[in-house]
Symmetry: C2
Subunit: 410 residues, 2 copies
């Protein structure tokens, strides 16, 4: 993979120019993209800033996120050729930092669950996950050092786990969603993919203008709760093995690790995630659903049909359960610095007909808390684990993820 920090260090040292860093991406794209199908459009001749803390960093932008001059096609024929006027807020910010939006990356239609043409960079018979398929695959394949995704259920952490890269789904609205196609305004969260945890931490600190996120201290002996999410169907052996290895790595690194059974309020919120997602999706995509339903692929249409059948009172009840569970979770974090749990039910499924299952991600998206995927080396296909922190404590969450990542590698 292309490490953002490594590229930036070489640029700072004068051994690589920003244009040279972009050329590295182009070469990797030329080699891998014909088989991977991770990119929708590529900027043929972007202006490359010479300065800025992200000069030389080529970013992949999920195709529901606006980038001026490139189409935003939402993974749907309904938006074929559609070109926005300006940049999404996060893209503007990246450009302000010197980065370039080199490519739009594939997304399932409207960031739902109908697969894209992208394949897993580690085995083309396996899904890269979704909905941020292209961003995860492009970073996992070493084509780009940074990519933007969004998560409404599990669309950042799960594809990162499947594609073997690091990713962060930050605290809710830490990165603005302005200029991002909405599916669920209560859930949609912009996230970042990069080679390692330090790379995503560095990028998140810059994007948010919050330097304290980068290199935050995890404490000498962080208190980590291992959570199995028993309310969801049991995971596969690969995910179990990854969680066990990460737990042992955390212990080796000096963390105080204990098991935690989540209180029932959290299971109750998890059960209601999809009510919020589908109800809001039906409203957010009203124009598409009302005027061009035939152009919607089957899974997103099924989700929107389900949304159309949800009464406002059910939605209100689901939102109340979410609010209540957030308070309960906040209380739990008085005793823990981070939660360690599954990123996905297993390695990437051996199919291109599904993007996998977000069941270990939905609760945390609804809670709005920061989540980090840490790749766990040593299995034939990538599997990651998920490190979760308290709302607004993205720096510490990334710091804990980083010591686990280091201990897993060491």
């Amino acid at each position: 993979m292309l490490s953002l920090l490594d590229l930036r260090a070489r640029i700072a040292a004068g051994t690589l120019t920003p244009a040279g860093a972009i050329d590295l991406c182009r070469a990797a794209i030329a080699a891998r993209e014909p088989d991977l199908h991770a990119l929708v459009t590529l900027d043929p001749a972007p202006a490359i800033p010479e300065t800025g803390p992200l000069a030389g960093i080529a970013v992949g932008v999920k195709d529901i996120i606006d980038s001026a001059g490139l189409p935003s096609q939402m993974g749907s024929s309904i938006y074929a050729g559609w070109t926005p006027r300006g940049d999404a807020a996060v893209v503007s910010r990246l450009k302000q930092l010197g980065a370039i939006a080199l490519a739009k990356t594939t997304t399932t239609a409207f960031a739902s669950s109908d697969p894209t043409e992208t394949v897993n960079p580690h085995d083309p018979g396996h899904t890269p996950g979704g909905s941020s398929a292209g961003s995860a695959a492009a970073v996992g394949a070493g084509m780009l050092p940074l990519a933007l995704g969004t998560q409404t259920a599990g669309s950042v952490i799960r594809p990162a786990s499947y594609c073997g890269c690091a990713a962060v789904k930050p605290s809710f609205r830490l990165i603005p969603t302005v200029g991002v196609k909405t599916y669920s305004w209560a859930l949609d969260t912009v996230g970042l993919f990069a080679a390692g945890v330090a790379d995503v931490a560095h990028a998140l600190a810059l994007v948010t203008g919050r330097p304290e996120i980068d290199g935050a201290d995890s404490g000498s002996a962080p208190r980590i709760a291992v959570v199995r999410q028993d309310f969801a169907e049991a995971p596969e052996p690969e995910a179990e093995a990854a969680l066990m290895r990460a737990r042992q790595a955390a212990e080796r690194a000096g963390a105080r690790v204990s098991d935690l059974a989540l209180p029932p309020e959290l299971a109750q919120a998890w059960e209601r995630h999809r009510i919020i997602q589908n109800y809001e999706g039906r409203l957010a995509l009203a124009w598409e659903y009302d005027t061009q339903a035939d152009a919607l692929p089957p899974r997103v249409r099924e989700h929107l049909d389900a949304g159309a059948a949800i009464e406002p009172a059910q939605y209100d009840d689901a939102r109340r359960h979410g609010h209540h569970a957030r308070r309960v979770l906040k209380g739990l974090f008085a005793d823990y610095d981070a939660i360690l749990t599954f990123s996905a039910p297993g390695s990437a499924p051996a199919t291109l007909d599904s993007t996998g299952d977000p069941r270990f991600n939905q609760l945390w998206t609804l809670m709005g808390v920061p989540c980090v995927n840490v790749p766990v080396p040593g299995q034939s296909l990538p599997v990651g684990v998920q490190v979760i922190g308290r709302f607004g404590d993205d720096g510490r969450t990334l710091a804990v993820a980083r010591i686990i990542e280091a201990a897993l590698r060491g």
Copy 2:
């Protein structure tokens, strides 16, 4: 003014067709618009549905809200001729109900505070208010029975007060903001303008699919707290007189009215409203600010300059004060069914160089609670009062507003 309920009653009775109702609007527009300048674009030949609970209702859509086929020009040369692909969620919903988006209405640039060309329908030397200038003026002038606005500080309630129509700024996110240009994601709220409180209540119930909002019961003797917002500069005599008349009307209608001094947490939140607005505005409008600052008119540019100087920690502090104040306000509503306060500092200022002052609206936008403007008859220029309810209790808030409106008229 054109009453939505009256038009619908005539259509239901067979004495008016939907096309006839639209013709009434066209005739009023032909008579008033040349002097008023409230409309940006007019759909020359919209398809007019024959059925649906809002068939025959022509809606004015603030020009930061997408309506398929009509440009969304944001009150800014940066978006001259810009046409969105589809409808905003609220516009789709209105069309689903049989309404038509007849016109886009003027907005200050990006719904900030640089005046539009629109004049007050009651006196062309006075501002109609802003930022939803065209929507308030079009309804106040009797050109349209329903219009959409947005409020980030005071952009729905204040222009309604100045233009003499009813309006509701509903609970935060009760109407989706999908397809609405973002200024502040924590504050932007879609609202409705119509002739009377019953008209806005009926429209809100339909738009949200929550029939209980319409005709909700205020109780036989609602408990109303009169709040003066002493933390803001004192209002003018016209606003004082309107509040006094509304208070007396509420008492005549059987309400139990008492004075309430708000606890200091609410003043502290009010003081921080603009920090949130400006900080988020700078991020939301990053593309415009970074690439076309010279095309921004002076006031929005000044607000964004201010936003650029706000540190994340100040913003976080402001958000925390907002959260805390919401909890305090929720507690206050244990003892009251509604708050009655000023809608604006006075009648519309005698100038076209300012859209007036949102200081009596900002707190309530930040609190996310439902606010209703009730016109108070009997002054030379319109003045309204503001009825405010607890979060999610839009029906009761509108019911209290309705009994005050009736008592003021009676």
